[in-house]
Amino acid sequence: MAERAGHGARAAEAGVIDLKDLVRALDQRRVADWTVIQRDEELAVLDETAPRLRRAERRTRWQLTVHVDSADGRGSARVALDGSAEDAGDVVARAAALARASLGSAWQSAPPSAPARVRLTDDALASAEPLAAADGIVRGLKRPGRLAVTATVAVAREQVHAASRDGLRATWLAALARADVLVASAAHSLAITREVRQLADLDLDAALAAAPAELDAIAQASAPTPGPCTLVLATDALLHGGLGVWEAFAHQADAAVERAGLTRYRERMPIAPGADHVHEPLTIASDGALDYATRSAPLGDDGDAVRRFTLVERGIAVGLGLSPREAALRNRDPNGGVRNLVVAAGSWSGAAGDAGPDRVVEIRRLRALAIDPFTGDASLEIALGFAGGKPFTGGTVRLDLIDALARAHRSRTRIRRGAYDGPAAVWIEHAELIP
């Protein structure tokens, strides 16, 4: 956990309840369990789009979770507050009343576990004012010549305080910087987005350096030639929108959905037929304690300790993201849910030329990626691809992502970006490019 040197819990804003008020009011209530999370947030946005914008925001948010037990089961309520003057006693009374009115199946909270030890900000983001940090990022951009570069940078820093009925008290500092950069020539544009908890991970220089070549490729791109192909997903396509194609596994590992029987595969079963017998079976872990990863946290929203656990091990489904309720119903420990995905690397060189003898289509950028959370079926709309060394734009690839990624060849080169740590590229056999 990262503590911000010299920064304790911020004094309550005028007219705003504080954590102590809520804890005191909760202690006076006869409820089975409760958790309070207070977030003191500072947010800044610097937008270069004319007219230039500098925005600073400060707010305190609370999340209160209350459980009430009765002979008929357990009732739960969650209160979210994002505002000013309130009375802590009234908030708690209302939450308890609602919890009593929403009884469901009985379950017991697990004893509190130690929060995960994880770094959630670097010194630069922890010490600078958010607007100054955003300013620094913008000023540090290495803008390629002859192209227009417009950046929007948002920096958020929060001091989080968590308290629970069982005496758990935790405080941590977290920061997140997001850069959205539009690089444009006279006729074409491309967007670069990065989200990081430490400035060293921004990696905008390489993306900006590559932008002129990518824009040239887009300018020269022709229409795609449909047909069967071997598909190479390069990093930006692989991680489109964040976790990209790997998001399919996050959906499948949702315990509530799995309990509803609506997931593609079941625990202790291969994720796809034969997935455990391929050359390099797929292994994926959720690691919410990965330093500086964007989905890391010491505790989950319900005050449950975040843990690393394996989702898929050598092609076999072995783990699920478990909230306190789902964990209790399965007689297991909660793990904070699915967070950052760590995917085992493979042995492929990462070069498109090494991706088998068939026609190879390398996809560099996507326009859109749609994943059916229940089936893992996905549509990939192509923004920039290469076939036979020639650029093309447009076209669609449809994949059964669970099956395709279970059998995909993974590069040995790894990349860490946002909530992902794994192979920088994959290649998939027997795909089909359609117009």
Binding site: E13, A50, E57, D82, D87, H188
Partner: protein, 490 residues
């Protein structure tokens, strides 16, 4: 897994899970409202803030305050739940000597909180004398329903549905109210509005072979929550949509004559307008080059207007009396008989020369960053009955999402089902899981007829946890386009 297991499993998730799924974050409750007296003081705090910012030498000082309550009641196969949440904020916006915008935002809506936000922008200064003009208050006397009333509204949706049967393995009804009071103060402008946005949703799930078929219908408006806008026919259409048995034969991919149902049309508009017809979209050279004002973009049958006033009725879900930059609401023509004649613009877009008029500067949740965004889009109806649009081809119903690539104009719309037509009549063959793939311009250019009947849809999504509201009134369209199966035969 059999249907009973699905029912049990989905039921275990119950209404509280529905609230999670709808982005409500689980069962939540708001804190009791702060004393009303404080709301009466807000105007005075904002006056003081603007006067101090003006005294500090800032141009165009603007203060916006918000108190917003969100209530959602859900009712499903096994139970009911109510969720409440509250957000307050003040946004102070100024233009500095370099012409740059500066904003200071605080969630502390109190005299001290507003004063602290002013101090963060400007050193202490004696307030300047500012004429704010006469206050203009757009009041909405809609009462705030109790939890029990809300649940009764949700239950009433169920009782109107006589098409329900045992093949429906899951059903849910949702009533959602966003009740926002917004103050907007600037020199010469002293505005207040209350916007009570109501959305009703019915969801139905039935099995078709090995896959669940989900059908949803919704209505949304500004005004009292108790209205039965979501009528019996619409709800039963959703139920019948979920129950429709799909033709097992493979769909023949290709270009077809198509009739687009209003939900599909609305989905296309909702994807296309932000991607192509805003001043933000004009930052992309691909869009700026292609879609200059005056450019032909659609058939002459297409006329599109953004009208936050809803024809002066102020009852559209996405409507408002003034935008989040304090511009009074007025209708804006975007496409006139196929030609682009306007753009959705905020003040920054106008300052940058990308559009002639502002009035659509909207902040997510009224307090996020300003972005140019549509309010209530109306695709002008035609004169033909929707049944007259049918010939040979397919009726496409149930939009599941649309993507428009601003760079290439490529449109992909996921469609729940296509009903085959022959000589204007349904053949009985229904195909599921399709997509409409087209160049948007070509598709719109192929529109041959527009129905006189329209349906209105409300859209709500969130940016950084803050909602964006908009609505679209859309007719049926007949056109030509490529339709293909989304799933390949195994």
């Amino acid at each position: 897994m059999n249907r009973r297991e699905v029912l049990g499993a989905l039921g275990a998730a119950s209404a509280s899970s529905l609230l999670w799924a709808l982005g409500c974050g689980g069962r939540q409750d708001e804190a009791p409202r702060a004393p009303i007296a404080r709301e009466d003081q807000v105007r005075a705090w904002l006056h003081d803030a603007v006067a101090r910012l003006a005294a500090a030498g800032f141009a165009a000082p603007h203060a916006l305050a918000l108190t917003r309550r969100r209530t959602a009641a859900a009712n499903d196969v096994l139970g009911a739940a109510v969720r409440r949440a509250r957000a307050d904020a003040v946004v102070l916006a100024v233009r500095d000597q370099d012409g740059a915008l500066r904003e200071q935002v605080t969630a502390d809506v109190s005299a001290d909180g507003v004063a602290a936000a002013v101090s963060a922008l400007a050193a202490a200064a004696k307030p300047a004398r500012v004429d704010f003009g006469r206050p203009i208050i757009a009041a909405d006397g809609s009462p705030q329903p109790h939890d029990e009333e809300l649940l009764a509204f949700a239950d009433a949706i169920r009782t109107r549905d006589e098409a329900l049967n045992s093949r429906i393995v899951y059903r849910a009804e949702l009533v959602e109210i966003d009740d926002a009071r917004v103050w907007s103060v600037a020199p010469g402008r002293d505005l207040e509005q209350r916007l009570v946005r109501v959305r009703q949703v019915a969801t139905r799930v039935a099995w078709n072979g090995t896959r669940p078929i989900v059908a949803e219908v919704s209505r949304a408006w500004l005004g009292p929550a108790g209205s039965d806008e979501l009528g019996k026919e619409a709800i039963e259409d959703a139920t019948r949509g979920a129950l429709a048995l799909m033709t097992p034969a493979a769909f023949e991919d290709g270009e077809h004559a198509i009739v687009l149902a209003p939900s599909v049309v609305a989905s296309i508009i909702d994807a296309a307008v932000p991607a192509l017809l805003t001043t933000a979209a004009m930052r992309l050279p691909e869009v700026a080059r292609r879609l200059e004002l005056g450019a032909g973009a659609a058939s002459a049958a297409i006329t599109l207007v953004d009208d936050p006033t809803a024809g002066g009725n102020f009852d559209a879900y996405g409507g408002f009396h003034f935008d989040d930059e304090g511009e009074p609401a007025s209708a804006l023509m975007l496409v006139d008989r196929g030609h682009i004649v306007g753009r959705i613009a905020d003040q920054a877009g106008v300052a940058a020369g990308r559009a002639p008029v502002a009035g659509r500067g909207r902040r997510p949740g009224h307090v996020g960053r300003v972005e140019p965004a549509a309010s209530h889009l109306v695709l002008a109806p035609g004169t033909a009955a929707q049944t007259a649009l049918r010939d040979d081809g397919f009726v496409l119903e149930g939009a599941l999402g649309a993507v428009v690539d601003p760079a290439s104009d490529r449109l992909v719309v996921s469609i729940a089902r296509a009903r085959e037509l022959a000589h204007g009549n349904e053949t009985g063959r229904v195909f599921g899981e399709l997509e409409l793939v087209a160049n948007l311009g070509a598709l719109l250019a192929s529109v041959a007829a527009v129905s006189k009947e329209t349906e209105t849809f409300g859209f709500r999504d969130e940016v950084d946890g803050r909602p964006r509201w908009r609505s679209i009134a859309a007719p049926w369209l007949s056109a030509r386009g490529t339709v293909r199966a989304r799933r390949r035969p195994a």
